[in-house]
Structure formats: C-alpha cells, structure tokens
Symmetry: C2
Subunit: 317 residues, 2 copies
C-alpha cells in the first residue's frame, strides 16, 4: 500500500526536503515540523523550507531549523504537506519538481494528487491528524515535541475542535497526544488566543469600517497598506479578522479585503449555505465551500461592488 511505498522512499533517500503551502497556517507549519522532527529522530537529515511564517509559531520544536531556501538542486525525496496543488507551493515548486521522488500528504478535498505517491484523506480535519496514523503505521515514536507540532495543526485547522470535520476520532487522537505530555492549554493560548498589538490595531480599524449589507446577511470590511504600515503589521497580523464578521448573528457571508501590491486580497467565510469557493472561482481564486479567497484589482469601492454582486446571487431572502 501507499504507506509502505512512502516508507520505502524515506529509507532510500539520502536527501529529503519538506515543503508546505504559501502563507502557512498552523497545520502547514505543525505538519511540516512534525515530519521534520520525526525524520531526524529516524536518522535522516531533512531540509525544511518555509520562506515566511508568523512568529506565533516560534515555540514549536525545530522551528529555528527552518530554512528560507536551499542550494540543493535535486533532492532524492520531496514531501509536500497540507498543500492541495503544486501551484500553492509557489516559489518552491522547483524543489518538488526537481526531486527524484515526490510524496504528497494532505487532507484537502481539492488535492490534485500531484505527487508520485499521494496519501490524501479528505475526511481528516487537519493534515496533522493524518500524520498520527502514518507515524504509528511506520512504528515511529510520537514524542512530546512531535505531539506538540501535531496538536498545533489540529487545533488551528479545527478552530479549537470547533469545525464540522471534527469527529470522535479527533478527540481520541487529542487524548493520546495529551498522554504524551502535550500542554494543550499552552498551545491553544499561543496559536488561537494571542493577539499581537498590530493585530489588535488592525482589528480595531476593521471593526470600525465593518458594514452590514443585504439586511445584515453580508458583512464587509477592509484594511489598507497604510493601516498595516501604521500598525507595524507583519505576516499573519490580519488573521482572524474575517472570522469576526462571520460570527455575528444573521451574517451568512463575511468578506475581509486586505490591500496588497497587486490589488486587494479578499477572504470570504460563510456560515450555512453560500459556497464561497464558487464565488471566488469567478475571480480566479478558490478554496473550501465555507472559506475561500481571491485577488481583485481596482479601488476598494470597485472591489466591494464586484464581490458583493457575486455574493448576492447566492443570498437567500
């Protein structure tokens, strides 16, 4: 089976590179570091390449060993974690493409199976959850450090066990990770409950601008590049803003626009029935049915009009 073949590739490889998607979230970082740490413990010396990530993950074991780039031209084995398409590996797709053997481990339903070997389970609410099964099958020991990386992936990708993909198995896995010594409340606090000062300032600005449209069924807000400069914002400091709108009673779709060099990066979240991935696909974006994104150009009012016109088509009265 695939897992046996993956272990075979790991055993054969002298050089291994671990990759994940751009703008990495906790599942991307947690899964990648879990793989990195366990391969090191197994006697391998992999490279883990993630050019940029939020400093909230600085507590994770192995984080200081993450590289921004590599001089290796051709790895024996490349492992992509939590990434649905080769395109989302972004500038690092070359490491994957040039590798002699390519392995994809993921939980996105939209995964394009771009590896030679693909271990994709869309039923897992986090890529990190898949790793538990995999490591146990391999006979790899999940230490406290590795369990910390895994629980970070599960907690962030399930919003703290809140999303509908969470099953009894997720809680059973969590119990088993706690038994390995993981401090779940500490991880929780660091990755879900800590707001940086710049994030707080951006939230304050975004909340002030938040408008309710279509009878309160759509919420819309934005932040500009100037706001981000004034707030000394770094990568990740806008995370969570789109969720505030989604959680307000009566809102079906929450839209958050963030100004970037190319225009505006839109994040959409829905509650019940609007497939925001369908909305974003209209603009060359995409994602999940209840969480998706797209990039649009124009003034903020133009962008707002464009996206609202599409969302309104799906809103029920």
């Amino acid at each position: 089976m695939t897992l046996d073949k993956i272990l075979e590739e790991i055993n054969k490889a002298d050089s291994i590179v671990i990759l994940t998607h751009e703008n990495p979230d906790g599942d991307a970082i947690g899964s990648s570091l879990a793989m990195y740490n366990i391969l090191k413990a197994y006697g391998k010396n992999p490279d883990i390449i993630i050019p940029e990530f939020s400093k909230i993950f600085n507590f994770l074991p192995g984080i200081s060993e993450i590289k921004k780039e590599s001089s290796v031209k051709e790895y024996d084995l490349a492992i992509s974690l939590d990434c649905p398409t080769i395109k989302r590996l972004n500038g690092f797709a070359n490491y994957f493409e040039n590798a002699k053997s390519k392995v994809v481990i993921d939980h996105h339903g939209t995964n394009t199976m771009f590896g030679d070997l693909n271990y994709v389970n869309p039923d897992a609410p986090a890529c990190a959850q898949i790793l538990i099964v995999m490591f146990e099958y391999f006979g790899f020991e999940i230490t406290k450090d590795i369990a910390t990386c895994i629980i970070t992936g599960i907690i962030t990708d399930t919003g703290g066990f809140a999303y509908s993909g969470v099953t009894a198995e997720t809680f059973e896995f969590a119990a088993s990770l706690l038994k390995r010594g993981v401090n779940v409340s500490d991880v929780y606090k660091r990755v879900l409950q800590t707001t940086t000062k710049p994030c707080f300032e951006l939230t304050r600005i975004a909340l002030n601008r938040l408008e309710f449209l279509e009878n309160g069924k759509i919420s819309f807000t934005y932040i500009t590049e100037e706001d981000m400069q004034k707030a000394n914002a770094e990568t990740g400091d806008h995370e969570g803003i789109v969720t505030i709108g989604r959680n307000i009673e009566g809102v079906e779709v929450s839209v958050f626009a963030r100004q970037i060099d190319e225009g505006w990066r839109l994040s959409l979240r829905s509650n019940d029935y609007v497939n925001v991935s369908d909305v974003c696909i209209m603009f060359g974006g995409g994602g999940h049915p209840k969480a998706a994104g797209a990039t649009l150009t124009g003034s903020i009012n133009e962008v707002k009009d464009k996206i609202l016109a599409q969302i309104k088509r799906y809103i029920r009265n």
Copy 2:
C-alpha cells in the same frame, strides 16, 4: 459510597427540584438540564428552576420546561449543580434549605459542601464532566439529548477545550459523547462563536476606548448604560469583551467596566501572575485568581484610578 447514597435518595424521592447558581453559564444550564432529562427518562418528574438565562441556550433539550419559580414548599430531594455555596443559589436557596434531602454536585475547589451528600470533584474542568461518571455508575443511558447538554457544559467551562483543567480524560469523554450523536460543531457555534448584533456594537465601542497602561501590561476599557441602550443590549451581550484585552500580547491584566445602576461592574482577567481575586477583594468583590469582579462607585475616571492603583501594586517591571 456517596454515589450509592445519591441514587438511593433519587429512588426514594417523589418530588425533586434541580437548582443551579445565579447568572447561569453553559455549565450551570447544561448540567442542570442533563440531570433533568436523565431523571425524567428514569421515570421521575423533577422541577428545574432557573429564573433567568441567556437565549443562546434555547436549543438545549428540555430548556422550555425550565420554571422561574415553584409552588412546592418542601421537596423530598433538592439537587444543586455547579454551585459552590448556598449563597450563590441566591433567591432559590429556600427550595434547597426546605428540602428533606440535599445533594450537591459540583467541581469548584471552593465548594463549601453545603449538602447532606456532596459529590465534588475539583479536578473536573466542568460540572457536566462529573455527570458522565455519575450517570454511567448509575447505569443511566446517556442519550444524544443528554450528551448535548453535557458537551455544552464542557465546551463552555473549558473555553472550547482551551483551559488548563482539560486532561486526556476530557477528550476521551468528548469522543464518547460524539459517538452518541452530538453535533459538537453546532453546539460550539451556538454557545461560543455567536456574537449578537448588540454584542458586536458594544465590542466595537469598547475596542475604540481600549487603552494600554503600565507599558502595555494593563488594558482598560468600558461601556456606559447609554451605550447599552443604544445597542439594544440584553443580559449577556457584554460577555467576552474582557477577554479581548487579556488576549493581547504583553497584557497581564485586562479590565472591563460596565455601568450599572449601582455604579460600575468591573471584570478583571489576568494571564500569568497577578491574582485578580486579591485585587477585587479590596473592593468587596472576588472570584478566581485569573478571573474576578467587583462593583465600584464614582465617575469612570475615579473608578479607573482606584482599580489601576491596586493592580499596579502587583505588576512586575
């Protein structure tokens, strides 16, 4: 043992009343309704008396059968859930005091053991978690409805599995409740993630007024009675505001003041080392080391100066 004696009292009793603490939270409501539903299934016809509660709990099985008061003078058995002292039963202590047999089930470390029979486990992060053990010992069947009441208690009292009292056992219990058909993401959404419009408006106002003091170690904000009227706020609509301050990087103590008839109701939260219960005791209030409250009189600036002067004594530089 105590559990056998409690079951004996339940078997003997013709009339039973279920009580919980004032300003009931999700654990108080969830535990009380779990007990109510299971006793009904067991063939008893208990009364459950809770004069006031937030409408976010309206989805809970049995909620429509809650009474505001009772005409029964002397119950055979009174069961108090999630309540540390008879004082916190508030206006309903008489139902407890007049009962022939008094049972206390709780998880507060400060419980005064005010029943004839007391089943108190301070290691449980929620009173509802204790009920799982109890019902299983009794041989009572935990149906999907009862499991929904129990998970509501666990989710709310652990902040969604986030607090330090959560153990591997909590996750194992959660897994067992999910296997009984509980929709955990639905409960989560209803009790932890839904912001009412008035709550959003109050949050927006409070965030605009939020100040950082003592080098960012204290956050302070407030809302007035006028704000609440303008926002059409009801009971509970200010919940969560104090947490926003506590979650900001660098903040040790978050203070939120809410104007009430008698003056200002202050909520304090701390992160690491300040015992806010000690701070609040100075003003006749109290609570837990990291979550406490007090009522102060005066203008908002006077109140702010008074509370800050006390907090500063504990802040480390």
